[in-house]
Symmetry: C2
Subunit: 121 residues, 2 copies
DNA sequence: CTGCATCCTCTTGGATACTG
DNA sequence: CAGTATCCAAGAGGATGCAG
């Protein structure tokens, strides 16, 4: 059994739904991975994540902060500077996410082939 | 460094986007976890996953099949019987997903508290 | 620089009805 | 039983403009 009974039951009753939504979020995964290397500034994150809008970056960071995964530090200089870093719990999630990303890297080729062969039918 | 340079670069150029979308998908995660325990019938999955619509179950399974993560087996009896099971690669992803679900279990409490305390402000 | 507010579009996904 | 097809509502998310 890969999944314990307790978890299976949790799946069916959707108690995990809200947490999995966090993990499954498009941008959260990328942000968690990047912050795994250390603190980053807002503008730094924005440049590092290709295709993210300012709105989504802010919303995602707020949501990560709300979940206790990220800490937001404001330095009131002019112009202001804001740094984001993982909390200890955030780091443990970042580890999981990194593992998932490595899986993606390892199997990207396979998935691409599967898709092409499926679509060929 | 939790994330290798290669992956960081992949993140910024979004080459991983399509694979992460798969992983991040709401229903895919649950289905992968359930199938980790062994093959399941369509109706079985439907009953096991609370809140999923017939439409989404079918769409998600098709998409998993397309990615080479799930195998669909039709037994042409009356009524027809369709079984779904993980491919070898699907099993490796299921392991990752199970790990993520266990993380969720471990930190559900913490996240709940963080949210309540954040919202209290 | 770091954001918030608004508008507006497009996708996601639920409900329902119908088929082999 | 295991889908497919259609319709439709809700929400995600981009673009833009403004503010501290």
């Amino acid at each position: 059994m890969d999944v314990p009974d307790q978890v299976s039951e949790a799946l069916t009753t959707c108690r995990l739904r809200d947490v999995l939504d966090r993990v499954g979020d498009k941008w959260s995964v990328l942000i968690m991975a990047l912050l795994g290397d250390g603190p980053r500034r807002y503008s730094d994150l924005r440049r590092s994540i290709d295709g993210i809008s300012q709105r989504m970056l802010t919303l995602t960071l707020r949501s990560l902060e709300r979940d206790g995964l990220v800490i937001r530090t404001v330095t009131p200089t002019t112009p202001p500077r804001v740094d984001y870093e993982l909390t200890p719990v955030g780091h443990t999630l970042s580890k999981e996410v990194s593992s998932l990303i490595r899986w993606s890297e390892r199997h990207r080729e396979y998935i691409g082939m599967s898709r092409r062969s499926y679509d060929a039918r």
